[in-house]
């Protein structure tokens, strides 16, 4: 086994525990399974194992008798070097089997900047990048996750994509595979033709005219693992996670997750309590997080918390609620130590712009919440904004500063804590995403974004407020990658070959190389981030919200701008 060759060299790399497998709760590998599935995440171990989706599917597949599912992630640079120097191919964590020997390799696509890492992993596995170059001797390479709603930019690298929820489709796919393999008639092309008929499956070589996303109808009855694999190392979110519901009805117009995960589907309180008790005893974390796109919108939240609290207390487990509203009852369920900081996704500086993007939060809300929180001892506030939203003006940016001032003033008035206020402002850059009302919008020009960031940096420093911002250049590449069509595959391959991977890691991102790769293919980044006219590349995919609805929403947004400017 080739991994053995480098076992004693593992000390030369950072965090060797990423590469050794043997995690607690990892199911036994079934050596004689009919379908061997390699679940890949195109980033490092610590990031990968913070993702809930791959863990659900991993355990789901392993519960099937005839399927064995293992994990593989991107090795970090030092490990890559060690592997290449010793001729070690990408291997599975559990049994250290080379990736090539699996039947199906599945990639979870959570962010566009991980696309080059897909190529990186195929490269390390000695598997050709293009589906068209992979004969019968190579595994099927499939993709899924939120990015798959526009699969075209990376279509050339994949045999098929699963669009939508994976819990029902993925096992079906494995069953079809097993059936053909066991009666000796498996051929890639036949298999692909058959599964193209399954809802949610987009076969790249067939390029079907219309593909509907797959969707679990009854989340309450949908599988959720409680004996979840436990990372060898502290990972980004080291806690048990419970998925309370799927979808979000808030309809913020920039938010892709909100539109592609519709409709809202809930788990029942009793189901959640049962899952929670099992998760707590099967894993042993000291914190359990109630997760969803906006947990405070769970209609039975109060009941859930009331029932969960005593169970959690008994096991000395804290309950974590992402983005708690302090003015509501939930705060009393949250542990004291965690009460120190408030988070608001304000997104835009003025009410006008917040109305345009349909972000339901008012300045009054924010200040009132702050007042109450400060009175009860909070001393930290985090504000999140987005720069370059459609219709944004200077006024909108200036208002970010004045809101910050008002929060400072509120703290002076009402704080009961003797500590000084810790106020942080973070800004991301608006990225127009497929299947949102703003999908056709142009992205703010690079220089413009940087100008705004500099303005905020300067003004916030004067106020003594910490400011962090997302890199404008990588947001531009992200916008290009998420909205383009098939022509982008060449660019992505060129970028990878010139040394781009781990693009999501700010210090590993090479903007110049991306620009070169675009140029080489006759493409201009400014052109690609302009307003999109005409047919959209992802028109053959349907995620449940119609294009008419999205156009309508966009018009509504623009109307708001006009109405408000008239009234001024």
């Amino acid at each position: 086994m080739s991994f053995e060759k480098i076992k004693h060299l593992l000390l030369t790399v950072d965090k060797p525990a990423r590469y050794i497998g043997g995690e607690f709760n990892a199911p036994k590998v079934k050596n004689n399974a009919d379908c061997k599935f390699l679940m890949c995440f195109p980033d490092v171990y610590d990031v990968a194992l913070s993702n809930l989706g791959i863990k659900i599917l991993y355990h789901l597949l392993n519960e099937k008798k005839n399927v064995s599912c293992e994990f593989a992630f991107s090795p970090w640079f030092d490990m890559e070097k060690l592997m290449r120097e010793n001729g070690v191919e990408l291997y599975s964590l559990e049994s250290k089997t080379p990736a090539k020997q699996f039947d199906i390799i599945g990639f979870s696509l959570q962010y566009e900047l991980s696309y080059t890492n897909v190529l990186f992993m195929l490269d390390l596995a000695n598997i050709p990048f293009r589906a068209s170059e992979r004969g019968e001797e190579f595994p099927l390479v499939i993709g899924g996750g939120p990015c798959a709603v526009n699969p075209h930019p990376i279509s050339d690298f994949f045999d098929l994509f699963l669009i939508g929820d994976g819990e029902e489709v993925l096992p079906k796919l494995c069953d079809e595979y097993t059936k053909l393999k066991n009666n000796g008639t498996y051929r890639k092309s036949d298999f692909l033709k058959i599964v193209a008929g399954i809802e949610g499956v987009f076969v790249t070589s067939l390029n079907q005219e219309s593909v509907k996303k797959a969707q679990v109808k009854d989340l309450d009855k949908t599988y959720f693992p409680t004996k979840v694999i436990l990372p060898n190392l502290e990972v980004v979110h080291n806690r048990a996670v419970l998925e309370v519901f799927r979808g979000c009805a808030k309809g913020c117009r920039f938010c892709q997750a909100g539109f592609i995960c519709r409709p809202m589907r809930f788990r029942k309180v009793d189901t959640l309590i049962d899952l929670a008790s099992r998760v707590m005893s099967d894993i042993g974390y000291d914190e359990i997080s109630l997760s969803s796109l906006s947990t405070c919108d769970y209609p039975h939240l109060k009941e859930l918390l009331e029932k969960l609290k005593p169970i959690a207390d008994e096991k000395k487990v804290n309950i974590a609620l992402p983005s708690t509203r302090v003015d509501s009852f939930e705060s009393e369920f949250i542990d004291g130590a965690r009460k120190s900081s408030l988070t608001f996704a304000v997104e835009a500086g003025t009410q006008r712009l917040r109305d345009v993007i349909q972000k339901n939060i008012t300045e009054e809300n924010i200040l009132l919440s702050c007042k109450k929180a400060f009175e009860s001892g909070y001393s930290g506030v985090k504000l999140y904004f987005m720069i370059g939203l459609p219709t944004e003006t200077e006024e909108d940016v200036k208002e970010i500063i004045s809101l910050t001032k008002k929060i400072k003033w509120t703290y002076k008035q009402y704080a009961t804590n003797k500590k000084s206020l810790r106020l942080t402002v973070s800004s991301s850059v608006f990225v127009p995403k497929p299947f949102t009302p703003f999908q056709r919008e142009g992205q703010m020009h690079l220089e413009e974004v940087m100008k705004t960031q500099n303005y905020l940096k300067f003004e916030l420093r004067k106020l003594g407020v910490k400011y962090s911002y997302h890199d404008a250049k990588s947001s531009q590449i992200e916008a290009i990658l998420c909205r383009s069509g098939r022509e982008m595959s060449n660019v992505i391959e060129d970028a990878y070959r010139s040394g781009c991977y781990f693009d999501a890691w700010t210090d590993k991102f090479h903007y110049d190389k991306w620009i070169e790769a675009l140029k080489k293919n006759g493409l201009d980044p400014n052109e690609l981030t302009r307003e999109l006219k005409g047919e959209l590349p992802w028109n053959n995919i349907s995620v449940g919200v119609s294009q008419e609805f999205l156009e309508n929403e966009r018009e509504k947004a623009y109307k708001l701008r006009e109405e408000q400017s008239e009234s001024i």
Binding site: L9, L10, P16, I20, F24, L230, N232, L233, G284, K316
Partner: protein, 215 residues
């Protein structure tokens, strides 16, 4: 209080000390064994570990003490059902107070395995009979630091391509990985260390922890 002897083998030696502590913490929670918590703002479960081993050193003789009123038998059996492969409880015993392993450990035995057959090292004449053995390391600022570590070397022997050594552990600590490397360097041997396993822990007078605490 219950004292525990455990082993950490089968690549678990690559898991850092902090994560090993987390493994035990969570194993206790899963197994439903109650552990006492410290008082104060940020309560934590009361575990008292020995001097942590360097990353990459396996062990068949690790010790810790835990503040709990569970029986020693339960701690052993229930924990073993809840630990990842490669980490195993070997012995447990109920004691009155924390024996403070960290302060009492003094020496440890290691077995070092190499990837190729080793030449014969004249350990007796080149090291054991001398008053001085210099260990060179590069410190954080990139400077070479040399130190006489002879007082931390208690026993050394070679068995084909294995070295057995007894070194200072805890106080006057001498890392087995650094020591092995120095021996290789001094003899200009190109083979590499394959695996280091700690096999015994002693107190300052050379009494085996097993004998001192578990009999």
């Amino acid at each position: 209080m219950v004292i525990v002897k455990f082993e950490k083998v089968n690549m678990r030696e690559f898991i850092p000390h902090l994560d090993i502590m987390r493994v035990f913490n969570m194993a206790f929670r899963r197994s439903g064994l109650k552990v006492n918590y410290s008082e104060g703002f940020n309560p934590h479960a009361l575990f008292f570990f020995c001097q942590p081993l360097p990353l990459g050193v396996a062990s068949r003789a690790e010790y810790f003490c835990v503040s709990t009123s569970e029986t020693a038998e339960d701690v052993k059996n229930k924990l073993n059902e809840n630990l990842p492969k490669g980490i195993k409880i070997l012995k447990t015993k109920t004691v009155d107070g924390d024996p403070n392993f960290a302060a009492n450990c003094g020496r440890a035995d290691y077995v070092v395995e190499f990837d190729e057959v080793l030449p014969y090292f004249d350990l007796k004449n080149t090291i054991l009979k001398k008053d001085e053995f210099l260990l060179t390391r590069i410190d954080k600022t990139g400077q070479r630091k040399t130190k006489n570590v002879r007082n931390s070397i208690f026993k050394l022997s070679q068995n084909e391509n294995k070295l057995k050594m007894q070194l200072g552990y805890g106080n006057e600590n001498l890392r087995a990985d650094a020591m092995s490397k120095q021996i290789l360097t001094n003899s200009a041997t190109h083979s590499m260390v394959k695996l280091i396993t700690k096999i015994k822990t002693y107190d300052k007078n050379g009494v085996d922890f097993d004998k001192k605490y578990f009999s």
